[in-house]
């Protein structure tokens, strides 16, 4: 990690001197076991840049805010898919972006780690020892083997070395994924439930949704300038809105299911939606279910296509006509 950080800062300084507006990367967080997105705007600021196992954020979405500026962005493998998606959807000018790839050793699942520390433990030091995370509290040292404590998405990650980047920070990282794990295991478990079981499962979770819209805000596939759920349509049905601010079970379902369909076929798999949810709704189950269905129905999209749902093939399954 140390070497990556050195190369990262060097490259960032060089790019900033060449005149890019921002180098979007990560800096240390203010709470233990965390990092934060960081926008270096001047070469002097690059010393705050880091890359470590807490750098969970997908920074690609920020690019939408600067469509006409030259920016650089640090991407992990899971973030990278979002870049080409946004370019294909004409939100971004690829020539203005410098994509800086990092070889990733997996991201720690912060909530799981914190949950296993003794209650009210004060974290005094955190050390990233390549294969393990060591946390020292007032009650001693706690060792977390990374393989067991990386995020669920990392355990099935097939792309921890991002491809098609402009700069790669360091050598390729060894695979992180557990080859035995089925990426759709949890999806299949829900599929196997009876209708009543599915309803009970989802109602319990969706009822908790606060409609904070963090999942939408963080998602790079949610790139509409004005979201459907923000639209008030004056004059049409007396200005009916698709959704009010009321938090009710039907409205919550409406929001999540429609958003899942808007994202379907375009999901980069970064799982940020699930990470940011303050009430722990496993949103990737919805996205993965749709990804699985799309794969089964339509196969993979051609590499240069806008997305599998934007392409047509006479061989597409068609039960209707």
């Amino acid at each position: 990690m140390k070497e990556i950080t050195e190369i990262l800062r060097r490259e960032a300084a060089r790019l900033l001197k060449e005149g890019i507006e921002f180098f979007i990367g990560y800096a240390a967080g203010s709470i233990p076991v965390s990092a934060r997105p960081f926008f270096a705007a001047r070469p002097e600021e690059v010393d705050d840049l880091v890359f470590n196992t807490f750098c969970v954020h997908n920074l690609v979405k920020y690019l939408i805010r600067y469509p006409n500026k030259r920016v650089a962005v640090v991407v992990k493998g899971c973030d990278n898919g979002a870049v080409s998606r946004l370019v294909q959807e004409r939100h971004l000018d690829r020539t203005k972006i410098t994509v800086v790839g990092v070889p990733c050793g997996g991201m720690i699942d912060r909530n799981r780690v914190l949950a296993e520390l003794p209650p009210a433990a004060r974290i005094e030091a955190v050390e990233d020892r390549q294969n393990a995370l060591v946390i020292r509290t007032g009650q001693g040292e706690h060792v977390f083997e990374k393989k067991l404590y990386v995020m669920a998405k990392c355990q099935v990650c097939a792309k921890n070395n991002p491809a098609s980047v402009d700069i790669m920070l360091g050598k390729e990282a060894p695979p992180v994924a557990d080859p035995e794990r089925d990426p759709f295991k949890e999806v299949k478990e829900i599929e196997a439930l009876e209708a009543a079981g599915k309803a009970a499962y989802w109602e319990r979770l969706i009822r908790r949704c606060l409609r904070c819209y963090a999942c939408r805000q963080v998602c790079p596939a949610c790139s509409c300038t004005e979201c459907s759920f923000e639209q008030a349509v004056p004059g049409w049905q007396q200005g009916a809105m698709w959704l009010t601010k009321a938090k009710t079970l039907p409205d919550n379902f409406h929001y999540h299911l429609i958003r899942a369909f808007h994202v379907a076929g375009r999901c980069a798999g970064c799982a940020e939606c699930e990470r940011v949810c303050p009430v722990g709704i496993p949103l990737m189950l919805l996205n993965n279910k749709l990804t699985k269905d799309i794969k089964e129905l339509f196969g993979e999209a051609p590499a240069d296509a806008c997305g599998v749902l934007c392409t047509y093939s006479p061989a597409d399954p068609d039960e209707f006509a």
């Binding site: 967080g29 203010s30 926008f39 954020h57 004060r122 923000e230 601010k245 940011v276």
Partner: protein
């Protein structure tokens, strides 16, 4: 003020006794998340709660609440007011959350008082619970709040080992306390010292020292500083901080129809949402995210103080813990202090 001891193993019985005549709203852990909600059995309760995800403001100022029902059939208009008047006991509030009710009172009970909030506030007794430790994000002491102080609660419990020190602080608390006479014991000497030591230990863990009442004046000078735009760069513009904040009180009002009948609802809203101040004409006084983010911090630290004489933040740390991009209000406070010196 009356003080007694309540042995820890007697607490469930006391709460059960309360449930005989009141709805009990208590901290419950669901799927790992601590929230406050009505319980039907004491066994559901997490008796020594940490910090909940959602603040207890939800009991008094519900996220979604029908304020009236209307019927417009036949060209007429019938309105039915919908106010909840139910006796309840809210158990397990930490001092930061108890203080948050004072902040919300200043808003909702100011003339003209909000009927919905006022009814619940009047009919709900509060049992506070001192903290036993500070979390990494806590900084209540910055606002003069004591982690073992029960001011604002009707009864306040402090864990002192095998028992709780029970302080009965109000006439309503006295009524509640009458229900546990057989469970409680006279307190022994020395408990005040235990409480004081506990407070100091926790206070030492809370990182920020803020001059209460001085910060609001310092904010005025930094309104136009580029710091706010820099801070907003990583902000997602979601509503997490506003929804988990125990003092945030912004709301929307909306009608939901079913034919010629319907309900007028009041729902939480967030000042960070793009459409929060969007006029019908399309004009938006805070059209940039940095303006909305800046407005939120000014509201918390300055405007609330200017208007009501009480800071809008209670240092509970929820926003710090849950912000997906680690925007930390303690850093904002420290930066404002630094910029204005």
């Amino acid at each position: 003020m009356e003080s007694k001891l309540l042995k820890k193993d007697k607490l469930p019985s006391f709460l059960e006794r309360l449930m005989e005549s009141s709805l009990l709203v208590a901290p419950v852990r669901e799927d790992g998340l601590l929230i406050y909600r009505p319980v039907s059995s004491v066994s559901e309760i997490e008796l020594n709660p940490g910090r909940s995800v959602l603040p207890p403001k939800d009991w008094f100022f519900q996220q979604t609440e029908a304020i009236c029902r209307y019927n417009t059939a036949g060209g007429q208009l019938l309105l039915e007011e919908l106010v909840t008047e139910k006796n309840a006991v809210l158990y397990g509030l930490h001092p930061c959350d108890i203080r948050s009710l004072a902040v919300l009172d200043a808003v909702f009970l100011a003339e003209p008082a909000d009927r919905y909030y006022a009814a619940r506030r009047k009919n709900t007794a509060l049992i506070g619970m001192s903290c036993t430790a500070g979390r990494p994000e806590c900084f209540c002491t910055a606002f003069g709040i004591s982690p073992v102080g029960g001011e604002g609660a009707d009864i306040h419990l402090t864990d002192i080992g095998a028992a709780y020190l029970v302080e009965v602080l109000t006439p309503k608390g006295k009524e509640l306390a009458a229900k546990y006479q057989e469970f409680s014991e006279e307190k022994v000497a020395g408990l005040e010292e235990v409480k004081k030591a506990r407070k100091e230990a926790i206070a030492a863990q809370c990182s920020v020292g803020v001059d209460q009442g001085v910060l609001p004046a310092k904010m005025a000078g930094v309104f136009d500083h580029p710091y706010w735009e820099e801070l907003s760069r990583r902000c997602l513009g979601c509503g997490i901080c506003t929804y988990v904040c125990p003092t945030c009180h912004c709301f929307d009002i909306t009608d939901v129809n079913s034919g010629s009948e319907g309900e007028r609802l009041r729902c939480w809203d967030s000042c960070l949402f793009r459409d929060y101040t969007l006029h019908t004409s399309g004009h938006n006084p805070r059209h940039e995210l940095y303006q909305r983010l800046r407005n939120r911090f000014f509201h918390k630290i300055k405007y609330n103080y200017d208007r009501y004489g009480i800071e809008g933040c209670v240092g509970c740390g929820r926003c710090v813990a849950l912000c997906p991009v680690n925007i930390d209000i303690r850093e904002v406070i420290a930066t404002v202090r630094g910029l204005s010196e």
